[in-house]
Subunit: 198 residues, 2 copies
């Protein structure tokens, strides 16, 4: 059972990464097969041999994004000395999110949720788990904040985590609505002040 025939001449992982970047930036509908070819560098034949459809490419790319993003957040949290600073930085990061064309890419989770609403049953559980995953990271951050004395109110951390995820999504939409950066920063300040209120 060894490999026979001509070996793959491209890296499937790299191809998927590039596809992910494409779908992230353009969404599903707006990204055509031509775009997908250009992004991955693969021919149409190779595309359809790797995944059987555009949809399959998309769900693979989206899953990749979800895993990557959660991992990145956890990494940033671990690297941060102050949990609250971590949260503030994450919220403020929506301001530096421009894609190569100067248009904010946003968070692919938010993008996908808004493009499909709940009309694609296959995506619903993925979306649900992904959102919950992000909330978990925020909850972990809040727990640490309590542990290190940055946060006095230790109740309902899960609710506050979901609240933070909600605010994050809202900020992303505001950025895409051309809300001025000062306003975004002011909102972040309100949110940070709200975290420690009785």
């Amino acid at each position: 059972m060894t490999t026979r025939g001509r070996p793959k001449s491209f890296c499937p992982d790299r191809a998927l990464e590039n596809a992910m970047q494409l779908f992230w930036q353009r969404g599903y509908e707006a990204a055509s097969l031509q775009d997908l070819q250009a992004a991955t560098g693969l021919s149409k034949s190779s595309l359809y041999q790797t995944y059987p459809s555009k949809q399959a490419w998309f769900v693979a790319a989206f899953s990749r994004y979800v895993a990557q993003r959660r991992a990145l957040l956890l990494e940033q949290l671990a690297a941060s000395t102050s949990p609250l600073a971590f949260i503030r930085e994450r919220l403020l990061s929506v301001l530096e999110d421009d894609g190569p064309d100067g248009v904010p890419r946003g968070c692919m989770l938010v993008n996908v949720a808004n493009e499909f609403s709940l009309s694609e049953p296959a995506l619903v559980p993925v979306l649900q788990r992904a959102t919950a995953g992000i909330c978990q990271v925020f909850e972990q951050a809040l727990e640490r904040a309590v542990a290190c004395g940055e946060l006095s109110n230790a109740q309902d951390l899960a609710a506050r985590a979901s609240y933070l995820q909600c605010v994050m999504s809202g900020l992303r939409t505001q950025v895409k609505s051309a809300v001025p950066a000062d306003s975004i920063r002011a909102t972040v300040a309100v949110v940070m002040a709200s975290l420690d209120c009785a």
Copy 2:
């Protein structure tokens, strides 16, 4: 200068309302001209005689939505005895937002912002003004809350208004991510508690 020839047999306002409902539910790209014909009841010829392109129909429909929504919010605020209750009700209303197909329509402002990011220059000022308009309503509500003693902290009302608009958008995205209703309600509770913290 009297009217000559066959009179219009349809109501342009009704047609635009129906077009608005369509674009609200489906977005711009996903709504085809056939859908637009079906929704408005107009023939293709009449469609293109009323507005010169699909884009023109869309911006007209979107402008209509923006005006209508702001008016509705102001009306609800005026009808409400408690400004804070008004805010809570608006936030919770994201839970009752299903379209005819059981899929949440969301807020057309949020939908448009996420579909186009900032890639359509013609939409940017419309989006910006519309978002600011919603914020104004929330700011008015906060002012009233201060006036009637429901809110003790009277500082930075504009920032808190933008914050509420942000939360609203975030909640809409969470609904489209299949976040459970209980979690939504918990988040709303956190937000309401945050409004009055020092």
